[in-house]
Amino acid sequence: MRSPIRIVFEQRNETPKYLSTLVPLISVIAALVAGGLFLLATGYSPIDTYSNMLSDGFTSSRGITDTLGLSTVLICTGISAAFAFQMNLYNIGGEGQLYLGMIGGAWAGLALGDRLPSFVMIPTVLLLGSLAGAVWILIPAYVRSRLGTSEIVTTLLLTYVAASLVDHFVYSPGSFFVTKNSAFPQGRLVPDSASLTAFGDTSLYPTFFLVALLALVLYWVVKRTEFGYRIQVIADSPRAAHYAGINANRTTLSVMLISGALSGLGGAALIVGPFGRLDPGITLLGYGYAGIVIAALARNNFSAIIVSGILFAGLRSGGDKLQISTDTPIHIGVMLQGAILLFALGGEAFRRYRIHAVRAERAAQ
């Protein structure tokens, strides 16, 4: 016979409000505990490691400004992913669109040279970067809306093409993006008119506020506008959209293009901000892929993405600095990010289900 105790998952009719904040919080704590056990097992002090990470990532003035600086691009790729995800469009090629944003932004900066004033140059660079990101998703968006081709496959594969494109522009001799006759494989810096200055001695650029504002604007667009209404109808029930005469193809196309543009903006923000040049190192950083995780953690809520983006940036920059300040391996930060994601997704079960144990054969007791 079966075991006397069974674990029963009972679907909740309604998720209590407190669980929506409690579950992510507990998920983060549980991930830290799991990470701590791992640290203990490998012979490091979890307390020391975490307090270092906390200070390097969040509480020291250097730490928090670095974190906010890094979060700028992560929030961009996060809202890019969420904007598509909310309509069940899985643009996982934000990474490639980010590269294109960098290429587009760098091209604008270099091509226009020092002739224009900053207040024209900066928006132009950001706009062209966004446009390049949108162009990169144009084909996936078009075939998705017309033929229903899986955007997961097309956007992902185009990321590899985008990475090759970055390499091509940096490594091919005589490229527009590099200094002539230089053997050093690195893009040349955009002119000063296309560069923003960081706040004081930090790596925090004004683009952070632009991006945070943009996240809030998107939140408003989805909740309050006709366009957002259409997105919600199509996301929940394409047949209701058809019934109401909402053109799902056109909305699909627009949503994907905007998603691509947002990742592109992230790339362009790196041009006007910390990088200032087309840097082939971007392909090793995975900022675009991180956006997927950030969007998932915030459950596609645009204002929550600001928080999850900053959290992730902090873990990342705090983790990166561990290696410098202590001898803890750099990968502990990466491991914690993974643990947080796993626990957060696992925590979903507690939000959706009530879990309790029952005796299997109560009728026969």
């Binding site: 006709e226 929940d236 047949r239 009728a363 026969a364």
Partner: protein, 520 residues
Amino acid sequence: MTNTSHEVAKGPHHESGAAPSALSAHSIVKRFPGVLANDSVDFDVLPGEVHTLLGENGAGKSTLAAMLCGLYQPDSGYITRNGERIALSSPRAGLQHGIAMVHQHFRLVERFTVAENVILGSRDLSFRLNRSELENRVSAVAESYGLPIEPGATVGDLSVGQRQRVEIVKALYQGAEILLLDEPTAVLVPAEVEKLFENVHAMTQAGKSIVFISHKLGEVVEISDRVTVLRNGRVTGHVSGRGTTDTKELARLMVGRDIELTTQRASHATGHEVLQIRDLSLNVGGVSVLSDISFNVHAGEMVGIAGVAGNGQRELADTIAGLLSPTSGSVAITGSMSTDRGPIHARELGLAYVPEDRLGMGLVPSMSILDNLLLTRDRHIVVDRASVQPEAVRLIDQFEIKANGPEHIARKLSGGNAQKVLLARELSGGRSATKLLVVCSPTRGLDVGAIETVRALLDDARSAGQAILLISEDLDEVMSLSDRILVLYRGSIVHETPGESAQLATVGAAMAGLSTEGNA
């Protein structure tokens, strides 16, 4: 709730002197989150008897049946079989005790033959199947109960009535002594219902017990030896005796108050033609779904389209609503062509459409009532919810929608209330005043109280001069409401009759394709 009658035959053990009941439930309690689905329910069925569980949707009859066959386990109370207490931990355990359920939605593999479906799940099969021997065994079981089936036929080619018979044969083949039939007539045309009832008699003659689950009063009276009425999870009455039962009394036990289901068909002075359909044909993927359909609907008139599901009803409604483009022919609403011009244009001409699929097509499940009211209306670039709020409150009040307010999420409404939201939106006009209302299966799955309200709303709309096209698989509904009845069979209108003089037998025969007695 309080003094509901147990006057007819109280208690399940009215024949306590006779043989023990084949199956009985004792003080069964079953809770679901927020709902007491069964509240100390007693029920029993004797050998060779048809005992009906009657109740509205949500009364708890399916829950009880699920516990009787082992699908659910009761929270308290117990079940006995021939007087002995048994534990049913799974449907397989139920089957071992000779209890089988025939579900409303068949669980057959369409690509398999009848015999293959019948033996599916049997554990005493050899590795290599001897097809002809199996078919003979299946035939033998079927014929001993007068259930003619073709064991070699592919299930996908069978009619709904025949598939149901396969399900019953499957239960019998597995050794069922007690069959639970869950709303078995819901999917059948009248001729098939008759056939089913003959089969039920043959089975009870052979000593099988039948638990018949239904909310249709007429057939309950016809088939049952005894009736147990459930309401809100409680037994509100045990009624015995075939044919002697008063349907009004049953309805009162079921709903808890007197109800009036037969609407008065006033002789309406009908107005001009609001909907004109000319030579409409539609092919989908090379298959003809609608062919050469022409009819009109006048202002103040209700035209009913009768037919078995899948004969082109949905496509006809979608074409009128501008969701499908016809292959040939035309649709005109209030004199203007609407063919090929999309749903928004049709609505601007005065169309309102209540599709069969309420949640998922007519309503967006995750959205609030307020947002759902906006679905078929003109929305500004920035959606102005505040200006619709008072109207939403008014409609909730006027249509007696049970909701916490305009912010109530559509998915969390009961079926009846969801339908009322849909009707409220469609009847109140959106892009223009409603002149033509197309409604599909407006009362399907609703409880008796809600059915009454929905029908009254349709009646009011007709009196207000709206033209109504009622498309429904519920023949009783079409017959009792329509001024004119058209029968749709394989995409063509095969029969037309005025509502008042319509004959059940004639309309039923037309629905079945006129000359199909042989395989009905």
